[in-house]
């Protein structure tokens, strides 16, 4: 079962529920079968099967609820996000507290969470992410940038809460 473990990890991050993630992984393979004729040999199988999983998630109840509040990708809002500077304290915290990063990831909107996971955990290229999420390359770059800023913001907020 190619990518079985990684698909399951990704599904858990999307759904926040292991049972739903199992259902999603099974549904992904079912849909992969039905649509296998649409897969072109020589193209990226990994991006294709992640795209199926993500689309299955988006049409699930959890997915619909999670994406209701997700912003679109207004390229011109890039500058509207506050600039975030890491301090020595936040860097130290990143090194020492995996749990903090997990919480910050979990707190992100699903569109930010998924793109960060595909880039950093799955180590997909921008082209693969573009295929998996079905968005243009420019949007991959801008959304990734926004996701990183949002994560840094979340970490700083958590750090401030701990200090106070």
């Amino acid at each position: 079962m190619p990518h079985f473990e990684r698909l399951y990890n990704f599904a858990c991050w999307l759904t926040h529920d292991r049972q739903e993630a199992e259902d999603l992984v099974q549904e992904t393979y079912a849909k992969a079968l039905k649509g296998f004729s649409s897969f072109q040999l020589g193209t990226n199988f990994r991006a294709w099967i992640y795209k199926i999983l993500r689309n299955a998630f988006l049409t699930s109840r959890t997915g619909l609820e999670a994406t209701v509040t997700v912003p679109l990708d207004p390229e011109d809002e890039e500058e509207a996000l506050p600039a975030v500077k890491e301090t020595p304290e936040t860097i130290l915290l990143l090194r020492s507290d995996e749990q903090l990063v997990r919480q910050a990831l979990e707190g992100l909107p699903v569109a930010f969470r998924e793109i960060l996971l595909l880039c950093e955990v799955e180590e997909m290229s921008y082209q693969e992410i573009s295929s998996a999420l079905d968005i243009p390359m420019g949007t991959v770059m801008s959304r990734l940038s926004r996701a990183r800023k949002a994560l840094r913001g979340g970490l700083q907020q958590q750090f401030a809460e701990r200090v106070n």
């Binding site: 990890n9 997990r102 770059m141």
Partner: protein
Amino acid sequence: MVCESWKAKLDTYLDGEVPEGEMRTFDAHVRGCPSCSADALTRVQMKRAIQVAGKRYTPSAEFRKRMQQKIAAKPRRSFRLGWTFAAAAAVILVVGTLTSVYLGTRSGRDQVFSEIADLHVAALASSSPVDVISTDRHTVKPWFQGKIPFAFNLPELQNSEFSLLGGRMTYLDQTPGAHLIYDARKHHISVFIFQERSLPARLDRDPLSPKQLTFNMETWTQGGLRYFVVGDASAVDIENLAKLFKAAS
């Protein structure tokens, strides 16, 4: 500020997504600029932290077993029988389509062949098919030292139609092995090497019919090692590469 234009692209640079020519310029700047190098270091640490934190969930043994049991027990059930069986059948046919291995009543031997074909396809579908990239066998072979519990010889390829692309570690039934990837007239061929005694099934009896694989495959045992040569190249190419390995071992 002078560095603002660089910093705007720093994440893209660290993701390895700036064009090759620009990458060299970027390298030079980051090395010489304390501000940008400090910023780059922070961002790399953030990337690593996300990577570590993101690898959080693994499927339970029960879930994996349940999927495998469904596959083994109900490989040919109709989709109309329910979503569960549809999912199980999907797994079979996705893998089966890739490997074209008939899974209906497959034996331990067939499972090994199927796994080998899966490993070949999965590696080629990966964004980094090889961990050691070199056409030089004297670079690739030593790379495996300390990573696998055996040694092997790689053939000299001069004046042959094959070229070595690199290698990677692989596992078959929890047994570590070597995976080498060769190019032959734009076809990629995988060579897998494992310790024979570690493999679950005897593979020489009743060899798999070529009709059961869209890939061509050769397998043999030599010096206590089990070799598999698999790929979508012609049967002649697969056989010729196998001969080179047999001669080298």
